[in-house]
Symmetry: C2
Subunit: 296 residues, 2 copies
């Protein structure tokens, strides 16, 4: 969303890489199973429940199973939508098999298998481009910065902890789709609003002794701040997914891991406030013009 | 559909150009009206009637107006779908106005305004990549080549003569959408199957003295050869479009124009037979392995 150059780079980079893979599979290994990581963000926030890729509808007395229309909210998310369309088509004409994973927002700093060595811990971004909400909130809590809720904070999305992602992708690997099948799987544990997440992070961080508060910040994006959101998540359960549900303990692990890096986060605190605006109307310097600040 | 390089070039070329235009409008002329030429091929051939870009559906007791899902039939058509999605999004976040024209297959060699000078006549392609069905049939008729129907020939599409295209685009120019509106208009006159078109070209060419016959040729594409097809075309009629409907006279004009170039067409007759296969399984040399040949 920064400018024309980044928009074009993001889309051509994703599309080119994905087309290269599709054609390579077609020419070299047509029996392989492609697991493509898309995002729940491809769907946007329609006024209907969100099925897993396809839905059956009636229109003027006829019924058909159609791809569920995608209405994503950024040029980045659009690049994933383009890849989904290309992949669905390639499955049809090249008879490839693919699982397109509509992944919810992933959070977490390590899984049990990484405990032996802190160098194995996953990368964690907290800037406006790559950092997601829970990452940002946890980093803010660690350095006593208010948790910045964009707009009203009623934006709901699906989330899942890193250890659940590993479990899901493993199940998908073990259960490939049929020849020529383009399968779409929604992958998340539970849905939360931004306000609920801020409250969760505040609760856990206070338990750990941080004096955390929340603030509402002018929304840099153009998105619905209060909307219907009820996506399906049936296929993974059928494949054997057992959600951990324990989001608070996951956040506790994150805060403890991040506490060891509080100085590095504090040194980059400017990154916690966005200066990119979706409508391109202004590029503010990184300051904190809080709409209102309150402690709950 | 030729190979990975052409797929990537086609998609990155269209997407890059279109994103450049959207960002340029946003930064320089946000009040301008973008008229983007898409194609009816973006919709593919779903089992439902095809509305103009959007449809209202009920799903699990809730109703919403959604983009009608696109299921195009080639990497080229997918590039237009990607552009449509990017344009719809840009209208939303940048408050641009755009008309996305889902254009049916255009045919014709000149309009009345070009009569004064044959150098004004439009370019005519009859190869497998850029040549459309009526062009190919007319060129085949002129050089006494059988009209090659791909597969069963029940593939239906919307068509419109060149003079109607000029009328429609003029009406769209004169009637721009509102600020921030992404408008989709289906632009065609009538729907024909490939078999019906072959019959029309055969009838007209025989009237002109050509001994034209038809042949069924193994379909190089992967597509439904018999399917539901009932797209809407309401908005252009509301804007004042008056279709000419006289497809036979348009084909007569084409045949007469093309007759002057019979030798050039005959010299390139290899172009009339495709060697690109949608499934990429084989690349045949340009020969005519007719499935069956008959004269009606």
């Amino acid at each position: 969303m920064m400018d024309v150059h980044r928009s074009i780079w993001t889309q051509t980079n994703n599309i080119t890489s994905n087309l290269n893979i599709l054609w390579a599979m077609h020419e070299v290994c047509p029996q392989a199973h492609l697991i493509k990581l898309g995002t729940m963000g491809e769907y946007g926030t329609p006024g209907l429940d969100i099925p897993e890729g396809f839905f059956e509808v009636e229109f003027r007395g006829r019924r058909d199973r159609l791809p569920f229309p995608r209405q994503p909210g950024s040029f980045y998310h659009l690049s994933k939508v383009h890849d989904s369309h290309n992949t669905a088509f390639a499955c049809k004409v090249f008879r490839l098999r693919a699982t397109d994973v509509m992944q919810g927002v992933v959070f977490g700093t390590h899984i049990a298998e990484m405990n032996v060595d802190p160098r194995l811990r996953s990368r964690l971004d907290f800037d406006q481009c790559f950092g997601t909400t829970i990452n940002r909130f946890c980093c803010q809590a660690i350095i006593h910065h208010p948790l910045t809720i964009y707009g009203a904070g009623g934006q709901r999305r699906g989330y899942l902890p890193l250890r659940d992602v590993m479990q899901c992708l493993h199940l998908i690997l073990q259960n490939p789709p049929a020849d020529g099948e383009y399968r779409v799987i929604n992958q998340f544990d539970e849905c939360y609003s931004i306000r609920e997440l801020a409250q969760l992070v505040q609760d856990v961080s206070r338990e750990l002794g941080y004096a955390t508060c929340q603030t509402h910040y002018e929304n840099p994006r153009i998105e619905a701040e209060s909307h219907h959101y009820r996506p399906d998540r049936e296929q993974l359960l059928q494949l054997g997914y057992r959600p951990h549900h324990d989001v608070k303990s996951e956040i506790r692990i994150m805060l403890n891991d991040l506490a060891q890096h509080a100085e590095r986060i504090a040194a980059k605190r400017d990154l916690l406030i966005p200066d990119i605006r979706w409508d391109g109307s202004r590029r503010k310097s990184a300051a904190l013009p809080a709409v209102k600040q309150h402690s709950q």
